[in-house]
């Protein structure tokens, strides 16, 4: 009795050739129905304006045959591979190598980033790209406070980026204020708008919160487009002053930095300066976020993500906690926006579409919500990878989408899914992603 019950059952996984053939036939049938009109019959407007058509049954047969054969190959591959589980997807040695790399990755990456302008001094393209990547790293870290820590899904993050950019652009062009005065102002203004957005959405959770934040992002963009007298509408703001090194402009003139230092002027100087500027801003964002996580406010954010009802029972004011999360995230977004404006010298509403929000959110989700290193890696992959596939022209999005789907199958909770505790007594051990909640909005 016990012997029969202990025998593993093969019935659960059908594997016979009849099963494979049946599956392939069904796939072929579906393909036939789908393609018979799309491929089999071709219609076009004739010379007299009438509709003419002709058939392409040869192509149709070839496609259906390909689906039939492909289905058999896929099924055989699946049986050869066996049931998919985590250990099989990532072999053990690779896992241990990755955990070793994980410890040294962050410092190595930081050192490398510092050396980028030295190594690639003559490659303007790479410098430009690294500045772009670092901008997104900073945006990702900013949004990470809202989405990753507090668990509030924000689809309109680009609004704060726009507020920061326009704050600097308008203050600098209208009042002649310098970048270093405008930078904190842009941050404060963006934080203010973050609080303003926060108030109406406090009661909303999950999908409802996402929709309202999405609408907020669009409202800001539409206001910028239509308030022509202030923002210049679709024409944008041009002639935004470039940043100065504490008052010394990075120009070829006599009072420029190059002349003062007695070295030959090169336009690369400004790029290098911009690179270190955004690097410093991103690192400050990172430092502040790491610091905040270990303070009561940061722990309250994470507790809010885990269980809002329990937070209320412990006397945590969930209203102010949510608002501070929105404000902090918005402030970093605004600072990044001010940097964007000074780097470009020209901004228009086209730079602040929903696509930017989606991209930054994808960086946060892909990186592993709440993980600082994960977000940095994801920004590098997303922005850098996007450039890498530039040669593929129109297939770029396709390849990129496939890569993202694969990554999400392999690591459903992002590149770095586990959570590091903020305080410990004896052992500082990471918490498995299975236990950490994503938040309900």
């Amino acid at each position: 009795m016990s012997a029969t019950s202990a025998r593993p059952s093969h019935a659960a996984q059908p594997s016979g050739s009849a099963f494979i053939l049946k599956k392939a036939l069904i796939s072929a049938l579906v393909a036939l129905v789908l393609f018979s009109l799309m491929i089999g019959i071709r219609t076009e407007a004739g010379p007299q304006g009438g509709l003419i058509y002709w058939t392409r049954f040869g192509d149709l047969a070839a496609l259906v045959g390909a689906v039939f054969g492909g289905s058999i190959v896929v099924e055989l591959l699946r049986q050869w591979w066996g049931p998919v589980d985590k250990d099989r997807v990532v072999p053990k040695p690779v896992q241990s190598a990755m955990s070793f790399a994980g410890r040294w990755l962050a410092p190595a990456l930081l050192v490398f980033t510092f050396l980028v302008p030295v190594i690639f001094y003559n490659q303007r393209y790479i410098l430009d790209l690294s500045i772009l990547v670092l901008t997104y790293v900073m945006l990702g870290w900013g949004l990470n406070v809202v989405v990753g820590l507090a668990g509030l899904l924000d689809l309109g993050y680009v609004a704060f980026y726009a507020v920061g950019a326009y704050s600097y652009a308008l203050l600098a062009t209208n009042f002649g204020l310098s970048f270093w005065v405008c930078l904190p102002l842009a941050g404060i203004l963006a934080a203010f708008w973050g609080v303003l957005l926060g108030f109406p959405v406090l009661r909303l959770r999950g999908d409802y919160l996402a929709i309202v934040t999405l609408a907020f992002g669009e409202i800001i963009r539409l206001v910028i487009i239509n308030w022509q007298s202030l923002t210049g509408g679709p024409n944008g703001v041009s002639g935004i002053p470039r940043p100065t090194m504490f008052g010394i402009p990075l120009t070829a003139g006599d009072d420029g930095l190059a002349a003062k230092l007695g070295i030959e002027f090169s336009p690369t100087h400004r790029l290098v300066f911009l690179f270190y500027l955004i690097l410093a801003m991103a690192l400050i964002t990172n430092w502040v976020t790491i610091r905040l996580r270990r303070l009561p406010i940061g722990r309250a954010w994470e507790a809010l993500r885990e269980d809002e009802v329990a937070c209320r029972a412990l006397g945590i004011n969930t209203t102010t906690t949510k608002l501070t999360a929105f404000a902090t995230g918005a402030m970093f977004g605004g600072l990044a926006g001010a940097f964007f404006a000074t780097r470009q010298g020209f901004i228009s509403p086209e730079s602040f579409t929903f696509q930017e929000s989606a991209l930054v959110l994808a960086i946060v989700v892909l990186g592993g919500m709440g993980s600082q290193l994960g977000v940095a890696l994801a920004a590098l992959t997303m922005i850098g990878g996007f450039e890498l596939f530039r040669g593929l022209d129109q297939y770029r999005m396709l390849v990129f989408g496939m890569a993202m789907v694969l990554l999400m199958i392999w690591r459903p909770r992002g590149l770095i899914g586990h959570r590091a505790p903020t305080v410990f007594l004896e052992r500082n051990q990471a918490i498995s992603s299975d236990l950490v909640k994503e938040g309900h909005g």
Binding site: L295, P296, I297, I316, R419, V423
Partner: protein
């Protein structure tokens, strides 16, 4: 009812549409005593708890909390987080509500949020890492360590709360509630799902909280071994009204209580009791 009540519930009403969940309920919980609220399923016990702890706003009646320093707080006028922050009433939940992705220690640190927020100068002093903040944080860790020791979870301090066994989670939730330093601790079925040994340990823990901290305890419980052993006073509810109260002994022998639990008429219950003895 004589003595010194910490919590007085006066003609509490709670309606949900046409349903009256709690109907003119009045009772009092004594200071530094354990008061149990019992009754069959659906009697309205958890609704009373939600009214006391600010999750529901009562439809009528008053809930008064008398602090040691003589202040009286009208709990029905406070709501939400203020019950815990200002009135110092802590609660646990019937279905455990820990922060599963945070460690046991972090759970207890979150409970000290309000004290730590003050110490960190609303985050600004903490961001700069001033010594006064560091000391406050160390004190908070020490308090958490004390409570982890009390509930026997010190060796699991750095494990995720969601990874702890069920009984440990129950005790951690009580420890977390105690870290808010409450005057009144409300426990919603703390012994649910515990085995006999674990509920024995729970009894000791609750008695030590009453005796050493001087915290008054109000608990809902189905496990009669817990109720009869540690309660100083028992209030019995059925269909939203109080049907009996008194010491565990008197409540146990009350025919109305037995009738409510057996779902039978009072006369039948008396008949059962008499035939049994």
């Amino acid at each position: 009812m004589s003595g010194d009540p910490i919590l007085t519930v006066d003609r509490l009403m709670m309606r949900f549409g046409g349903i009256v969940a709690v109907n003119e309920l009045s009772f009092a919980a004594e200071r530094r005593k354990i008061t149990a609220l019992i009754g069959p399923n659906g009697a309205g016990k958890t609704t009373v708890f939600n009214c006391i702890t600010g999750f529901y706003r009562p439809s009528g009646g008053a809930i008064r909390l008398a602090h040691d320093d003589g202040r009286t707080i009208q709990l029905e006028r406070l709501n939400d987080f203020r019950i815990s922050k200002q009135a110092k009433v802590a609660r646990t939940f019937q279905n455990i509500r820990l922060f599963p992705g945070m460690t046991a220690l972090e759970n207890l640190m979150v409970a000290q949020h309000n004290a730590l927020m003050r110490a960190s100068g609303l985050t600004l002093l903490g961001l700069l890492g001033l010594p006064s903040w560091r000391e406050a944080e160390q004190r908070a860790i020490d308090l958490a360590r004390t409570w982890l020791t009390r509930v026997g979870l010190l060796d699991r301090a750095d494990d995720a709360a969601g990874n702890l066994p069920y009984g440990d989670q129950r005790r951690l939730e009580i420890a977390r509630a105690m870290c808010t330093e409450p005057v009144l601790l409300c426990l919603d079925e703390p012994a649910a799902g515990l085995n006999a040994r674990e509920s024995g340990g729970l009894n000791e823990l609750l008695l030590s909280i009453r005796n050493e901290q001087g915290t008054s305890i109000l608990l809902i419980e189905h496990d009669m071994s817990v109720v009869m052993e540690i309660s100083d006073h028992v209030v019995v509810m059925d269909y939203g009204v109080k049907i009996a109260e008194g010491t565990p002994q008197t409540v146990r022998d009350d025919p109305k209580v037995i009738a409510a639990y057996l779902g039978a008429d009072e006369e039948e219950a008396i008949a059962v009791m008499e035939s049994g003895t």
